[in-house]
C-alpha cells in the first residue's frame, strides 16, 4: 500500500501525461513501473522525493519527453475541429442566414481555444488540485456553463458587429451548400461508424429543415418559421440529452 503522497504523485503523472496526449499504453506501463519502484523504495524507508529529485513538475517533463504521442492524435484532433466547424455552420447554412465575416472567424478560433484547449486545461488543473471529488465536477460544470453563455453571447455580438463580410450567399445557395455539407458529414461519420456523431448534425439541422418545409420556404425571420423551428429545437435538444444520458448510464 503506497503512501498518499506517492499516490498523488502517480495521479499527477497520469493526468499530466494524458493532457500532453501521450500514448495510454505507455502511461499505463510507466505508472506500473513507478508504482513498483515506490513500493520497494517506501519499504526501504524512502519517500516519493527520492524518485522525483524534489521537483514533481520537472520529473514529469523528463518522463514526458521520452514517451510517444497517442497514435493518430493529431489526425483525430483535426477531424474534431473540422466536425465542430460543420456543426456550427451547417444549421446556419440550411436556415439560409449564414455569412462568413471576420468576427465569425475570430468567434470560431475562440471557441476552439476555450472549448477545446481550455476545457482540457481546466479539467486537468481541477483533477490535479482536487482529485476525483465533487469540487472537480462542480468547477468543470461551471466552466462549461460560462463557455456556453460565452458562445450564445458571441452569436449576438457577431450579429451586432460582423466586421468585414467575406462571404454572403443567397438563402437558396446557402441552403444547397448546407444540405450538401450535411450529407457529406453524415456519410463520413457513418462510414467511420460514429453513430452519435452522425446523428448530432441531423438533430441540430432538423429544426431549420422542418421549419423550412412546413412553412413552405417562408423567411427564417417569419413568425411561423420561428415557432416551428423553436419547437423542433426543443424536441431535438431533449432527444440529444436523452441519448447522452442513456449512453452515459450504459457506459457506467
Amino acid at each position: 500500500m503506497l503512501s498518499r503522497k506517492s499516490e498523488k504523485f502517480l495521479l499527477d503523472l497520469r493526468v499530466e501525461l494524458m493532457a500532453r496526449g501521450k500514448s495510454s499504453d505507455d502511461i499505463e506501463e510507466m505508472e506500473e513501473e513507478l508504482r513498483d519502484h515506490l513500493t520497494e523504495a517506501e519499504a526501504h524507508g524512502k519517500s516519493v522525493d527520492s524518485v522525483t529529485g524534489g521537483s514533481v513538475k520537472s520529473y514529469i517533463r523528463s518522463i514526458s519527453e521520452e514517451l510517444s504521442l497517442e497514435p493518430g492524435l493529431k489526425q483525430k484532433g483535426t477531424q474534431l475541429i473540422i466536425y465542430l466547424f460543420g456543426l456550427f455552420t451547417i444549421p446556419r447554412l440550411i436556415s439560409g442566414q449564414f455569412e462568413l465575416s471576420t468576427s465569425m472567424i475570430i468567434y470560431y478560433l475562440l471557441v476552439i481555444l476555450f472549448l477545446g484547449y481550455g476545457s482540457l486545461y481546466v479539467m486537468k488543473e481541477m483533477i490535479l488540485k482536487f482529485g476525483d471529488s465533487k469540487k472537480t465536477y462542480i468547477y468543470s460544470i461551471l466552466y462549461g456553463i460560462i463557455i456556453f453563455a460565452g458562445m450564445v453571447g458571441g452569436q449576438f455580438l457577431i450579429r451586432a458587429h460582423p466586421g468585414f463580410v467575406i462571404y454572403e450567399g443567397s438563402p437558396n445557395l446557402n441552403f444547397i451548400i448546407g444540405l450538401s455539407l450535411l450529407i457529406i458529414v453524415v456519410a463520413v461519420t457513418l462510414i467511420m461508424r460514429r453513430w452519435f456523431f452522425a446523428l448530432l448534425p441531423i438533430l441540430l439541422s432538423a429544426p431549420e429543415l422542418i421549419a423550412r418545409f412546413v412553412t413552405d420556404g417562408a423567411s427564417p425571420t417569419s413568425e411561423n418559421y420561428l415557432i416551428i423551428s423553436s419547437i423542433s429545437l426543443f424536441v431535438c435538444s431533449i432527444v440529444i440529452m436523452s441519448i447522452l444520458l442513456y449512453t452515459g448510464k450504459k457506459g457506467r
Binding site: 520497494e40 529529485g53 518522463i63
Partner: protein
C-alpha cells in the same frame, strides 16, 4: 542544461546499458547497483527516462512479470543484439575519452 549535466546524461545511458548487459534486471535493482558502484549524482527517478529511451531505441527488451514480493507487476529489462553493439561502441569511446580527459586534466593540474 550545463555541460556536466549533459555529460552525466550520456554516461548514465551507457552505465545502465552496461548493467542490463550483466543479466535481466528491473528499475529498483538497477538503481541499487548504480549506487553500489558509486555512480555519482543520481536520483531514484532519473533512470526511468533513460530506460524508456533505451527501450525506444531497441537496445533493451522488456518483459512484465508478477513481483516476487506480492507487490505490483514488475518490468524486467534484457539487452538486445543492437544494445550489445551499442554498448561496445560506448565502451570503446569511453576508453578513448577517459584516456584523453585524464591526460588533459593532468596537464591542467600541472599548469596550476
Amino acid at each position: 542544461m550545463s555541460v556536466s549535466n549533459q555529460m552525466m546524461k550520456g554516461l548514465l545511458d551507457g552505465a545502465i546499458l552496461g548493467l542490463i548487459a550483466q543479466g535481466e534486471t528491473y528499475g529498483y535493482e538497477i538503481l541499487e547497483k548504480l549506487k553500489e558502484k558509486d555512480f555519482p549524482e543520481i536520483s531514484d527517478g532519473s533512470i526511468y527516462p533513460v530506460l524508456l529511451r533505451l527501450s525506444r531505441k531497441g537496445y533493451v527488451s522488456t518483459q512484465t512479470k508478477k513481483s516476487d514480493t506480492g507487490g505490483p507487476k514488475r518490468k524486467y529489462y534484457s539487452i538486445t543484439e543492437s544494445g550489445l553493439h551499442e554498448l561496445e561502441i560506448f565502451r570503446s569511446r569511453w576508453t578513448y575519452l577517459n584516456k584523453g580527459m585524464n591526460n588533459l586534466m593532468r596537464s591542467v593540474e600541472n599548469a596550476e
